[in-house]
């Protein structure tokens, strides 16, 4: 049976579990950072991203309900994170919709799940399942370390491009500005909670597994946006001509 890792060793293992799977390196993220996308692509991104991050407070609520009273630090973190998503300022999904509207789509289209890819719907389902069913430290590892902690590294590349190349105003892209910094802190506090409360080798192992799965899920979600909207495969209805 595996031995319990020290906190520094466990932290390093968590960080390594993301490496090689970072969503910032997925094709859609790279094309965005390189200024190769159009406003229409950003609109499609927003229509998908809403269905991943829109229920984030719901995911955290399920984790909260699975967290014992004794883990006050974890409960406080989850509650604060939920509050920031929904109430502390402009609701985060409203900031996302503001950006979407600046890209030419509508609130109705953004909220219509039929406009999300199957991979996006799968990511949302994974988040619900993990938050409902896993130990609170494991679910925090999966959603906060595996998914949320990647946000600053993605948006710090994308935000300047939106201002400088595409001419969005700071108000239109506030969604990105906000998350660059807030998710630095959420990510760090997430690490602390996982390090503190994953107290058995089995829990540590499960945390590492689900951080890997989370990073893979976010990578796949981001890659699917490129495959669907930027470089789609020929449709089955109109197959490419067969070679003679």
């Amino acid at each position: 049976m595996a031995e319990l890792l020290s906190k520094p060793a466990f932290r390093e293992a968590l960080e390594n579990a993301i490496k090689g799977r970072e969503a910032k390196n997925a094709s859609f993220s790279q094309a965005w950072a390189n200024g190769e996308l159009s406003r229409e692509h950003f609109a499609r991104w927003a229509e998908n991203h809403y269905h991943y991050v829109g229920p984030f407070a719901d995911y955290l609520g399920y984790i909260y309900s699975n967290t014992p009273d004794s883990a006050t630090d974890a409960k406080d973190f989850l509650l604060q994170n939920m509050y920031e998503e929904e109430l502390s300022d402009i609701r985060h999904t409203d900031l996302l919709i503001r950006f979407a509207e600046a890209c030419g789509t509508t609130r109705e289209r953004v909220m219509d799940v039929d406009n999300a890819t199957a991979v996006t719907r799968g990511l949302q389902g994974w988040c619900y399942a993990i938050s409902m069913r896993e130990h609170f430290a494991v679910a925090t590892a999966a959603l906060v370390v595996g998914l949320e902690s990647q946000v600053p590294s993605i948006y710090r590349r994308q935000y300047p491009v939106l201002l400088e190349k595409y001419g969005f105003t700071e108000e239109e892209v506030e969604f990105f500005d906000l998350h660059i910094t807030s998710d630095e802190i959420h990510g760090e506090r997430g690490y602390q909670i996982v390090l503190e409360h994953a107290t058995t080798p089995e829990l540590q192992e499960r945390c590492l597994q689900l951080v890997r799965h989370g990073a893979e899920a976010r990578f796949s979600y981001t890659k699917a946006l490129y495959d669907t909207y930027v470089s789609p495969e020929p449709s089955v209805a109109n197959p490419a001509p067969a070679l003679a």
């Binding site: 604060q80 920031e84 109430l87 502390s88 300022d89 600053p152 700071e170 108000e171 506030e174 500005d177 906000l178 910094t181 807030s182 630095e184 802190i185 959420h186 990510g187 760090e188 506090r189 690490y191 602390q192």
Partner: protein, 120 residues
């Protein structure tokens, strides 16, 4: 290696040359004691006075400029909003609380709860 010096808690943290690091994240990770609450640039609880190395701090974005107002001209930054790329020294009042009074944060909460009262 570049160093962040936290005068108030008498701590120093080094980071890798070429990196730029979030000031509050470094403080939290290394127990340096900067008070904080929202970490979103709203409450202002984590404001620090930059005693040296302001040129090694990131350019403030709209959210931070608006929240700090004239405090920015007096050398303050919000730790959660600031990235550091070289030697920096910061200090703060250990008793400080947020700049929240009268802010939109409280306005928003007030609206939420007043709406509930109205609904009976």
């Amino acid at each position: 290696m570049p160093t962040i010096r936290f005068t108030t808690s008498d701590r120093e943290v080094e980071f890798a040359e070429g990196d730029d690091v979030n000031l509050l994240r470094v403080a939290i990770r290394n127990d340096c004691g900067i008070p904080f609450k929202c970490a979103s640039g709203n409450c202002g609880t984590d404001r620090v006075r930059v005693e040296a190395g302001a040129e090694n701090c990131s350019t403030p974005r709209r959210r931070e400029r608006e929240r700090l107002g004239e405090l920015f001209d007096q050398g303050y930054r919000l730790a959660c909003q600031t990235y550091v790329s070289g030697n920096v020294t910061v200090a703060w009042d250990p008793e400080q609380v947020g700049l929240d009074e009268g802010s939109k944060v409280y306005d928003k909460l007030r609206q939420v709860w007043l709406a509930k009262d109205d609904g009976g």
